[in-house]
């Protein structure tokens, strides 16, 4: 095989190989938009229950991603979950911001939502969010719903029972 042809083919191979890496980085991994705002500051929020929140989950405000969950650990004195949030440096939040854990979709991943307050003092690096709202647990919600349903139908219970029993009695 001619040396020039080999050189050409190897050149093509290396070029498309590197192109594939670039494709993975830019199109699949979305490198550019992550690199833009990788720098940021850390704040802490304490939750009674963090639910299914995972590290690297998004932090959103008004639906816009403004940061990532850095780490989650348990305070063994108060038994609260301490969630460290990494907020991109171009976003500043008032000191009385409320942090809440929501689920995207019915079974989607959980994320931290920041609802900005009206304070003029902004959160700094290493500051703590005072007001939080824990994750909603589907099981609790369902059982609450069932209990309230049962209570609602408790007064007309005799009639409901009466409606059910005729089918059973004969």
């Amino acid at each position: 095989m001619n040396r020039k042809i080999i050189d050409l083919w190897v050149g093509i191979f290396v070029a498309i190989g590197l192109g594939a890496l670039l494709f993975l980085a830019l199109k699949v991994g979305n490198l550019l938009s992550i690199n833009e705002d990788r720098r940021g500051y850390q704040i802490e929020a304490r939750f009674d229950n963090v639910g299914n929140l995972k590290p690297r989950a998004p932090v959103k405000s008004a639906g816009v991603v403004v940061g990532r969950v850095e780490s989650i650990r348990l305070d063994d004195k108060t038994f609260e979950g301490i969630v460290r949030l990494h907020i991109y440096s171009q976003y500043l939040f008032p000191r009385d911001t409320i942090a809440a854990i929501f689920t995207s979709g019915l079974l989607g991943e959980q994320f931290v939502s920041l609802e900005a307050g009206g304070d003029t003092v902004m959160l700094k690096d290493e500051s703590k969010i005072a007001k939080t709202q824990s994750a909603i647990q589907l099981e609790k919600l369902v059982s609450q719903f069932m209990f309230s349903k049962a209570q609602d139908s408790a007064p007309p219970a005799p009639s409901a029972g009466g409606a059910a029993t005729p089918g059973a009695k004969p």
């Binding site: 594939a20 993975l24 699949v28």
Partner: protein, 265 residues
């Protein structure tokens, strides 16, 4: 009693043999690194091996990537549709390809397509005493024959793995968006939101680099170590494929444990 002693002796001999072989591989590896100067001074040697190992493996690797991506999308749709989460198909296809299937399957294909060829070539050179002839002419066969093939493999495989992943993602796009009709925006959007450049893609690239070193080393070593007979070369070629496959899968498990521990901390 003598039975037991004989059994134990055989076990001991096998263990010592395995350790000796491991030591031989390690010394061989360092010999390759020491003799790599020639490959740097004469890059044409390595370029020729990249052509043999990389360019000629392009078709099989790219076709496999495309088809595996398409199958992933079809199978993923079956399962995701049950949970009404078909929009996550982009995430499923991209993560499984970039983290696992790309590096592993590309390395397995590379071992059977290029690794076996390298072993057979070097083994036959040894059988026909070309390596010995080189030594007579004061040409180090490790520098002239082994090291360029080793580096050719090391450079080729990560590029092949990246191509495999890219075509797999494209295959998933073809089946998911064009054939099944998932929304293209959510396919790419969810993928970009969940795939992290450093955590997912870089770890996949690191995996494929580790596999490249392992497979290339096994291929050149088995060729160099082959018995100089026709049966010896054929046995060495078989060993290359078998050992490479097992090594890739074992290394993949170890690397995955370190890289993606999931919930285990």
């Amino acid at each position: 009693m003598s039975m037991l002693a004989r059994l134990l002796r055989r076990l001991g001999r096998a263990s010592i043999g395995a350790i000796e072989r491991l030591g031989f591989v390690t010394r061989f590896y360092f010999a390759i690194l020491r003799q790599s100067g020639t490959s740097v001074v004469r890059p044409q040697l390595v370029v020729k091996e990249i052509y043999q190992a990389g360019v000629l493996s392009l078709i099989i690797v790219m076709m496999s990537g495309l088809f595996i991506g398409m199958v992933l999308a079809l199978q993923g749709y079956e399962t995701l549709a049950r949970f009404g989460a078909t929009e996550s198909m982009g995430v499923l296809v991209a993560l499984s390809l970039v983290r696992e299937l790309g590096p592993v399957v590309a390395a397995l294909l590379f071992a059977s397509r290029a690794g076996s060829a390298i072993t057979a070539e070097i083994g036959l050179m040894k059988t026909t005493e070309q390596l010995a002839a080189m030594e007579v002419m004061a040409v180090d066969p490790i520098a002239r024959v082994v090291a360029p093939r080793f580096w050719g493999g090391v450079i080729s495989l990560p590029l092949l793995a990246a191509l495999f992943s890219m075509l797999g993602v494209y295959g998933g796009y073809l089946v998911g968006v064009q054939l099944i009709g998932i929304d293209g925006g959510s396919f790419w959007g969810q993928m970009q939101a969940s795939v992290d450049w450093r955590y997912d893609i870089m770890n996949g690239v690191i995996k494929s680099i580790v596999f490249a070193f392992a497979v290339s080393l096994i291929a050149v070593f088995e060729g160099y170590d082959a018995k100089p007979t026709a049966e010896g070369v054929s046995a060495a070629t078989t060993r290359t494929v078998v050992t490479s496959a097992l090594t890739i899968l074992a290394l993949d498990f170890v690397l995955t444990v370190f890289m993606f521990r999931g919930g285990i901390n």
